[in-house]
Symmetry: C2
């Protein structure tokens, strides 16, 4: 189905309002989901609404959370999200980090008792818009097996880092610590496509090309694929994200992250509370006068942009370029959402007794 | 050749004293090089001494640096290493970060005008020994090509993160953001072994298995190997390390990192000064009372240690386990250094007119 960005945003906002969220929070959720669609990351857009509504209907997502600061020091704090929507909790946390960094120059926030927060890059870009380096990470559904393991102990645990530039667009890296994201496997499955080697394994730890293998005890591999290609390094990255997001904050870690899918049951008597995030904001003038910082960052970007390419490739890609270009096109041409995804959404709205706004 | 750890440490210290370093700095360099040998990372140990001496003889390494803080805010600072040995500069920086974090709870240091600092984990472990989370990263010789590029624009840019635990040994992740480190390629070459697919490419960007391909314009691939397996994510990690180490501090970035090999010439009129590092120290009680933090980190480690394994594997590996176990064995059984590495060292000492201490 085709939409203008505004139509789709209005509709998404209305869905969350109908589901019991206040207009401000519905707006935040719609902002982040639409940012994913516009930036060409549909795995984190409309496809997720059915999951959020499912969690809501099971009482695992709180539409009216009381988000609070539960621990604070001169440069850090810990937030309890009261089981709210990840976007609402994460935006609250990054707003507070930006505010605190104004006086402490850097500020770091660990968050517990939250839920899936959409694209990680959204929050790091909030800091960059305030002349700060933004760092954002989250743990996620346990679907990733460490090297030599058949156990799903980690999530795809993404990291995003945004660094302000001057003339050039900001550097925005936003990536899962696995070679493939769960949402992408779901898209492959919907398109009846196999996945490449060294991305997923079956329940015995043997190689697989089945995008639906997670439903049969399989697992996603860490970045690197196998130990010979450095999968222990991908595992380290993913473990660091899990520890920063959950051990720092007291959230559920690794296998105890509450699944962000209503048909999967959270582990009983799990240590920790809810899903965890970690955010950082560092003023660029914490290291150099802001103008000098930006001009040197421009120099970095220009240097990499004009790197030599292999045959057939026009120019190198700076992290953030493809998403920004896609966003501009989306604003101009509108968005297309896969029919199957819309059908699932309609079905989910129907179950909840919500009239579709589309 | 076989040594006790103490013999080898004494000898290395003596070499640097003979080369013009003061006893305190020679001790620090020996500490870090020996830590690499003992922890089973010989690619960052004795094999590097010839490179350091080569840089020294070309005036690119300053044996008597005046290391200074050139910029400071409540939670950050920037250090100029005056072209000193990376170990000496890095230890100074992490000591200062630990000191600052005592009052500001977190402290972040960007370093310019430094050189190769050995194993990244050494500095993050300094913080962990002080009940702080330690973060350490550095940029390095440009040898890594971004996805779709034939240009060596990045180094193997390692990251280390150490997190204090309670009953359990600390979590210590220390890894290059490439599937293979340069030092390891050098070891493969010395052992006349080919390397696996998807680790290096030739000068045209085509696959290669030659560990010596870097000498013929080839490049190391980012973690992930190829774009289908997420090499853009390894590129992002490596770029982040480069930006944090060099753009924040004003060091040489990417292709302008001064090569840590005397036979390679630094780029003329390059932007930035010397090689860059980035360090962070965060008190664990910046997030939770220290005892609770440690006990929850123990819980994380125990959970992952007892994860299910594939057939034939006894137990899962926690980052830091293999290096710690190797260190204990090395202390007990002594160290063996490859004959070719010792021969090259003797040759290098000879050229410098230094009597071998071995």
């Amino acid at each position: 189905m085709n939409f203008t960005c505004l139509e789709l945003h209005k509709g998404v906002k209305k869905i969350f309002e109908s589901a019991g969220f206040n207009p401000g929070d519905s707006q935040i959720i719609a902002d982040v989901l639409l940012a994913a669609e516009k930036r060409g990351i549909p795995s984190h857009g409309i496809i997720r609404i059915k999951d959020y509504l499912g969690l809501l209907s099971k009482g695992r997502l709180n539409p009216t959370p009381l988000i609070s600061i539960v621990y604070e020091t001169p440069s850090t704090f810990v937030i309890d999200g009261d089981s709210g929507a990840g976007m609402v909790v994460a935006k609250f946390a990054m707003d507070k980090a930006i505010e605190k960094a104004r006086t402490s120059y850097t500020a770091w926030v660990a968050v517990r008792n939250s839920n899936h927060f959409g694209i990680s890059g959204y929050y790091s870009m909030m800091a960059a818009a305030n002349d700060m380096i933004g760092i954002s990470m989250t743990n996620a559904n346990p679907l990733v097996a460490p090297p030599f393991s058949t156990d799903r102990l980690l999530g795809t645990n993404p990291i995003a880092v945004a660094v302000p530039a001057g003339e050039e667009p900001d550097f925005v890296a936003d990536f899962a610590t696995t070679p493939i994201a769960r949402g992408k496997l779901e898209l492959y499955e919907k398109m009846n496509q196999k996945v490449a080697d060294m991305l997923v394994q079956d329940k015995y730890g043997k190689p697989s090309n089945d995008p639906a293998i997670l439903k049969d005890g399989g697992a996603i591999l860490p970045l690197g694929g196998d130990p010979e290609h450095g999968s222990h390094k991908g595992f380290c990255m993913s473990a660091i994200v899990d520890i920063f997001s959950a051990v720092f904050s007291g959230a559920g870690f690794g296998p105890f992250v509450p699944p962000q899918l209503a048909y999967l049951t959270p582990v009983k008597d799990a240590p920790g509370i809810g899903l965890g995030h970690f955010f950082g904001a560092m003023r660029i003038d914490a290291f150099q006068p802001a103008d000098e910082f930006k001009s040197y960052m421009d120099c970095w970007i220009k240097t990499f942009r004009k790197g030599k390419t292999i045959e057939g490739i026009d120019h190198l890609i700076i992290p953030g370029d493809p998403e920004r270009e896609k966003e501009q096109l989306s604003e101009k041409n509108g968005l297309t959402v896969n029919e199957k995804i819309m059908d699932e959404l309609f079905e989910s709205l129907n179950k909840m007794g919500i009239t579709s706004p589309f």
